[in-house]
Symmetry: C2
Subunit: 241 residues, 2 copies
Amino acid sequence: MHITSERLLDDGVVERDLTLGGTTGLLWTAGAAPAPLILVGHPGGLRTMYPRVAGRARYYAREHGFHAAALELPGAGDRPPRPGADEARADLRRALEAREPVDEIVDRLVLPLVDEAVPEARAALDELLALPEMEGRVGCDGGVLAIGLRLALVDPRVRAAVLFAGSFVPRQVVEECRRLTVPVQLLLQWDDEWNDRQAALDVFDAIGSAEKTLHANLGGHTGVPAYELAQAGDFFVRHLR
Amino acid sequence: MHITSERLLDDGVVERDLTLGGTTGLLWTAGAAPAPLILVGHPGGLRTMYPRVAGRARYYAREHGFHAAALELPGAGDRPPRPGADEARADLRRALEAREPVDEIVDRLVLPLVDEAVPEARAALDELLALPEMEGRVGCDGGVLAIGLRLALVDPRVRAAVLFAGSFVPRQVVEECRRLTVPVQLLLQWDDEWNDRQAALDVFDAIGSAEKTLHANLGGHTGVPAYELAQAGDFFVRHLR
């Protein structure tokens, strides 16, 4: 892991640019005391998503003393595009407009991303959790739903996950999440213009965890109400402290 | 309004037994300072439901300084049974077991209860809100869903409602709640053995309020997780303070 730059933000949180495990990322630390790490997700393109990702990360650090990190996804930002992704994305758009089934296209688009992003995130966690201020436990926060579900399933360091409901979850990952055991809080935008509500409810239904909560709010894809951030914080405190 | 008994509880909350507006009730006050009132609902039978109702009421008083009240419902507790209710209840049980449609029976069972309970609750609110420690705003918390929806629609003193999702909502009340404007937080038990999940989701969908949130949790009818009480408290603080 290399720290390429570092700054002290006005809320006392230290923000660092990193290269680690074959990707780039950001780390926000709340202090030197050992604390859990929140991995803040995004749809890819960390530079564009920075305000939203940093807002969540700094909230967790400031309010609860958690550290937070975000990683660039395969094929996003300055990284080379993933083979076949552009074509699959165009196929998905066409199928959605024509109201045709999308399962096969979602598998083709999202499954290779999950297969690549999850081992990469785990390698990054190996490096991040070696830092002296890391307590060892990890919470997943948002990002690509299928990546969060797979990571929470396969990595025992992940103890809790706040995820954003989407309907573009490969069938294999939906099946896998029946074996999930970590507590999950799933946010669903009731009028999400990009995701199918019933498919998202089906994903919630499939999650095997004994503690799972769905928070559905009125509004479109980007309209998650501000108060959900505080409830995500409370959820992480409940499960990581 | 008559206070028939009064006691100071060990958390400093004062609990009073009341007769008011043709029914009986309980009032919990958190102090002399003017504060909003939370009306804590229940399915009827306040004596049986006391531990659960008093637990919620005292939490709101202790944690947030809200006053709280609960009212006996028409036909419940020591009150005379409502005409036709026993028969309708038996019909409902039969229809549910036979997996037959229940809309007509729900209308026959629940609509007269709503028509009687809501004016009664409003009359009780008139008396309660005349007390010097009442600030004027009211939050509805739980109880019979159709009563909460109607009360939140017709009484402008109700500014926020935390409701427990059920599927036994008369069709007229589902239609009415498209005109609702107060913020609603709806709790749904995902595996509720007494309520139909899709019908409950349809009620959530019908609610017209610009701020509405569904909290769905794994578990059966009586398995609402303890942390939902804190989230209900935060919701009332957001809207009543």
